[in-house]
Amino acid sequence: MGWYEGKKEKSAVPPAKALWDVCPKCMSHFPKGKWKANGKICPKCNYHGRLSARERISMTADEGTFEELYSEVGYSDHLKFHDATGDYRSKIEAVKAKTGEGESIVVGKCAIGGHRAMLGVMDFSFMGGSLGTGTGERIARAVELAVKERRGLVIFSASGGARMHEGILSLMQMAKTSAAIGRLKAAGLPYISVLTDPTTGGVSASYAMLGDVNLTEPRALIGFAGRRVIENTIKQKLPDDFQSAEYLEKHGFIDRVVERGEMKGFIAKLLSYFGVSK
């Protein structure tokens, strides 16, 4: 869990970067601008690249319906955590300034294809999408409100796992969010979980894997333990597609791998099947 800081993108192409867009999955080069023009989807391998929470919200919520909630809930530095590279507080304040977000998830109510929804979207660029106390609290409150207002729950995950800097209380957010989702299900409401690239560690091992329907995008990385950790443990090389969206679908943990352009329509259809009112 929480290995994301070691995963800083080290794509070996700094000089070419000015001229080319590079797919972080297959390393194919494209003329500058093509990556964005193609919706951050690789024209070659169909890897669906990472999006910010705001980009995802704008392509999921019906236009003008998203009402953000609990933005006042943020991180907590109850451990006064610091490591070799500095203190948590300054790190996360820098991330807040850079991303404009207050936590690794944005939650709010909206309509999706007209259906009453509670939407949560994680942002991997915020501390590797790590699950901190603020993240867990935003989710728990959103889920509880969804029960009160009879809304279907949709969460897009993107995370390296629990946030180390908030210690054991980060771990406890796994229990808290899972408990809240259990209550939503017991109240007869559906939960659609979309595990986007990457969803691993404590987030895959809590709310992300608990969907009544689990969806993902082509070539997303989804797993519990990191590939290197597993290879070191079992002393074997793993198949290339290990922990890919398609691999998880084959093994029975994902209902459908959905193209980005189809995602909103499919979620709306599921909400309709599940009887979520308009």
């Binding site: 955590f81 609290e137 093994h251 943990f253």
Partner: protein, 263 residues
């Protein structure tokens, strides 16, 4: 005592393991096997136990006391099959009016190929959802290493006890040091920063009670260490047995809901 010294004691191979806890805490114990799906995990074991008149489902990570047992049980690192077995057994408690007692001692969930293919993440997630709503009293004892999600999967309960020298953490100190210090040998610093000892967790509201250990650690006198655990477990079972089940489940939900709520 430095946090890293507690980590060493918590991992000491002489420290009482699941079998010893069962021997001294339970008046009787019968192991039951299998998840009814694919396998009988040996890293997480369980069965039926009587504790001072309480009929219980007893679950725990099993690091093993011999090299053979260590290998068979992956040093207490459970597979998804282990968590699914735990849920199967714990659901008996709900249906048949029993309590659940769990002993937590694991470096973490097993990081293996089959574990991933059989849904390690899903199994842990489902356990968290399951134990949060289980309609039976649940007493958890962190006895040694509370390693991340693999520990938490059987550590959602009404009362969380922790032995004096046990540790409980979101990531191992070595893992954290490797990532945030970029140097695994900085584990002592990471252990300190993560706040993983019993007194730390008591003050953070994550555990309810610290169970004292014999001087020098539980391995110096396993029997007396286990009997101290028994006294605490029994007292908690008694107090929980007085709470109506609906109230108990609501209190458990509120207990975990309050963790990390600062506003």
């Amino acid at each position: 005592m430095k946090a890293i010294e507690k980590v060493r004691i918590a991992r000491d191979p002489r420290r009482p393991h699941f079998r010893e806890f069962v021997k001294y805490v339970c008046d009787d114990f019968e192991e039951l096997h299998g998840d009814r799906l694919v396998n009988d995990d040996r890293g997480l074991v369980g069965g039926l136990g009587k504790i001072g008149g309480f009929r219980c489902v007893v679950l725990g990570h099993n690091k093993g006391a011999s090299v053979e047992e260590n290998m068979e049980s992956n040093f207490g690192m459970a597979n998804p099959d282990g968590y699914r077995k735990a849920m199967r057994l714990a659901s008996l408690a709900e249906r048949l009016g029993m309590a659940v007692v769990t002993f937590v001692d694991t470096p973490g969930a097993y990081p293996g190929r089959e574990a991933e293919e059989r849904g390690q993440a899903e199994a842990i997630a489902k356990s968290l959802e399951f134990f949060s709503a289980l309609r039976a009293p649940v007493v958890v004892v962190i006895t040694g290493e509370g390693g991340s999600g693999g520990a938490l999967a059987i550590a959602v309960g009404d009362r969380i006890l922790m032995m004096e020298n046990a540790v409980y953490s979101v990531i191992s100190p070595e893992g954290c040091a490797g990532i945030l210090w970029r140097d695994g040998s900085k584990a002592p610093e990471a252990a300190e920063a993560l706040k993983i000892t019993a007194p730390d967790l008591l003050s953070l509201g994550v555990i309810d009670e610290i169970v004292k250990e014999p001087k020098g650690g539980a391995h110096k006198n396993p029997k007396s260490a286990c009997l101290a655990v028994k006294r605490s477990v029994l007292a908690q079972l008694k107090s929980l047995s007085k709470v109506p089940i609906n109230e108990l489940v609501d209190q458990r939900y509120a207990k975990f809901g309050a963790m990390g709520r600062f506003a």
